[in-house]
């Protein structure tokens, strides 16, 4: 009895905390359905008196969030593909025993984690422009994927390092070369890590701001959702209800993706930690 009472007391204490935690998000969704007047003067109430879809219409068509959503999908998928291909291959190579300079390479990789994006953005921009990729999202995706590789490489490295040597030797006995062993034997085993890395980087790319901002500054048609948000800020005033609707458009797909893939994500992290 005492235990039940104690648990209920904890619930009573934690439920208000939980409401405080989710309130801003719920308020954002609610604001997306309000008129500017109600949003600015209506206080903290969550239910709109005069619900409207006009904010979504404005965000989707006038503020071009339809284009930005397509751009964000392209950008995020490209980042994920780049990260998966490069990180898994690098992780596999670095996990092999006897690779000369392996420790130095890993140390350099880890060291690069501590360099803020701001310091490297100009050379990255110049490099991508020099490659002739300045007018498309591939250039921005390359810039985003580069620094994002370190943790995935380490995850793949840890995972492949834990795979028994015998498996690889068996593949070699069956006539598979280095690349084939990696592609057809090792990579399919790494599904949990692939899932984790894909999800982490998809979320990261979806929410990315700095790199897409810099790379789309001169090409507004390439903007992603995060950058497109800025369009609601005027010189003197801000279209707050349009911004709230745009935020809903931006955040709902990523929440859905996360809900679908959360099991993979948790398993992947747990697997990576165990290995």
């Amino acid at each position: 009895m005492n235990r039940i009472l104690r648990r209920n007391v904890w619930h009573l204490l934690l439920i208000p905390l939980c409401l405080v935690w989710v309130y801003p998000f719920v308020w954002m969704v609610s604001a997306a359905f309000k008129t500017p007047k109600e949003m600015l003067l209506g206080g903290l109430s969550l239910l709109p008196d005069d619900a409207t879809l006009d904010n979504f219409r404005r965000a989707w068509t006038t503020a071009k969030f339809s284009t930005y959503t397509a751009n964000t999908v392209t950008f995020s998928v490209t980042v994920v593909v780049l990260v998966l291909l490069v990180a898994s291959a690098a992780g596999y190579a670095l996990s092999r025993p006897g690779l000369p300079g392996k420790k130095i390479l890993a140390a350099v990789l880890v060291a690069t984690m501590f360099i803020p994006h701001g310091y490297t953005i100009i050379p990255t921009f110049v490099l991508v422009n020099g490659l002739g990729l300045g007018n498309g999202l591939l250039g921005a995706a390359l810039a985003q994927a580069g620094p994002a590789l370190v943790v995935p490489v380490l995850l793949f490295m840890g995972f492949f390092g834990g795979v028994p040597k015998e498996l690889e030797e068996a593949a070699r006995m069956d006539g598979a070369g280095y690349l084939r062993t990696y592609w057809q034997v090792m990579l399919p085993l790494a599904k949990p890590v692939i899932g984790t890395v894909a999800l982490m980087n998809f979320i990261g790319a979806w929410n990315a701001f700095f790199v897409p901002l810099v790379f789309t500054l001169g090409s507004p048609d390439l903007r992603t959702l995060g950058v497109g948000m800025y369009g609601f800020y005027g010189q003197d005033t801000t279209d707050w209800t349009g911004l709230a609707a745009a935020a809903c458009i931006s955040v709902i797909p990523i929440v859905v993706v996360f809900l679908f893939l959360q099991r993979t994500f948790v398993e992947g992290i747990a697997g990576a930690v165990k290995s």
Binding site: T74, V77, L133, Q184, G195, G218, G231, Q235, D236, T237
Partner: protein, 482 residues
Amino acid sequence: MKIRPALAVLTGAVALALSGCNLVGGSSDSGAAADSVTVTVALVPDPPGASEFYRQQLDEFEKANPGITVKVVENPSDQQLNAVELMFQQNRAPDVFRAQDDGMDRMAARGWIAALDEFVTPDFLKRFPEGTMDPATSGLHRDGKLMSLPLVWGQWSSLRVFLYNEDLLKKSGFDGPPETWTELEQMAAKVTADGRGKYFGYAPFSAKAPATEMLAGTAVPYSVAAGGIDYRTGKPATSSPGLVESVELHRRMQAAKVMTPGWESWDGSRAFKEFAAGKLAMYPSPPWHVAEIRKLSPEIKLGITGLPVPASGRGAYLARKQSFSPLWSMSSQSEHKAESWKVMDFLSSDAFHKAYYQKFGTLTALEGAWKTEAEKNPDQAAILKVAEETLRRAPNPALASKGGQAITQALAAKPDLKYTDAAVSSIVKNQPFAPAAAKLDKDLQAFLDKTSAELKAKGQEGSAKDLTFAGWDPLKDFTPGG
């Protein structure tokens, strides 16, 4: 062994790329007809609703000009200049772009702005109020050449008004707004006391306390209130009694808890929200707040008047430094200058300005497009009256000489020499402002001396002399060269 997820993702990415989702980029003008010239216009979708408005207007333009397609590139206000600069650097410059005030100078300094004189006709100039397109005072000319066209009314950016809630003042027994700073202090204290935390008598508009500058502009020459230099002498004057007293007035009200708590973190639009919600009784403001208050609270009893002046009497009028603020410029790299001019001509047409006024209620550069209608609108009529009563033409070193331009630009690049932070600190920490002002004056003088010497060493003009207009009386209209 199958690797379905990786293949699916790869297939998805390829499909996205092939479906034209901007992965590797393509021709930006692919939508334009082969026999049509595309003019790219980089603008700011401001105020809210401007995106649709511009598109509708430019669609009308395209109908009237079948050979021209207008491609609109929108950038948020904060990013516009950087974005346009980047477009120039990537050789994809827009033909027409929005660059205001310092931004226009920044673009012009890089040689990216085309002079418009070859396109301008006497009929075009006649659209603007008489005398406003004089190169010496227009604000649109540099070195005698027309470099930009305006959008809003020339006096809009210089004007400051005092807004008050008639109902809240009446509740405290006041029939009208304060006319002096002393009355303001007394009335604000009474209203705040009567409000008992539900509403407050006064707040300084935003976190940087520009209200100190606005009120000081009725006591000391605008140049003192804006940048700490007295253009009558060319010398630092942050410690002028009028400016110091404006800060002290706010310090006293803050110490007495008269001002709305939390104003220290307000952005530029918070004051009108507080006012529209009936939580703020009075504040000095730029005129655009009036329309925002009306949008949020059409029924509020909003009074609009001139700023209160020192009890000892007015020491200065608000300054009209130039007839217009620059806004639309043409790229010097445009390959379609004639067509670009047609777009600019349209953006400066009576029809466009009338439509802009009707859509946003903004008073535009072509007075003929709105004056009759504005005089019938009580809010706008009040704004026009305040402008008439409180604005006077003032000297502008940046327009007067190259040296003036150089030295004002150098000063603008040193915001730490402006008194704003020291003033806010004094108000918030309840410390006297005079010592900080005296130190700023010394720092300003040192900076002026150093900058003059550096300019001289480079063989350029620019000294305190270029900031000196000895005959200027801030209570009268200034005549350049007069």
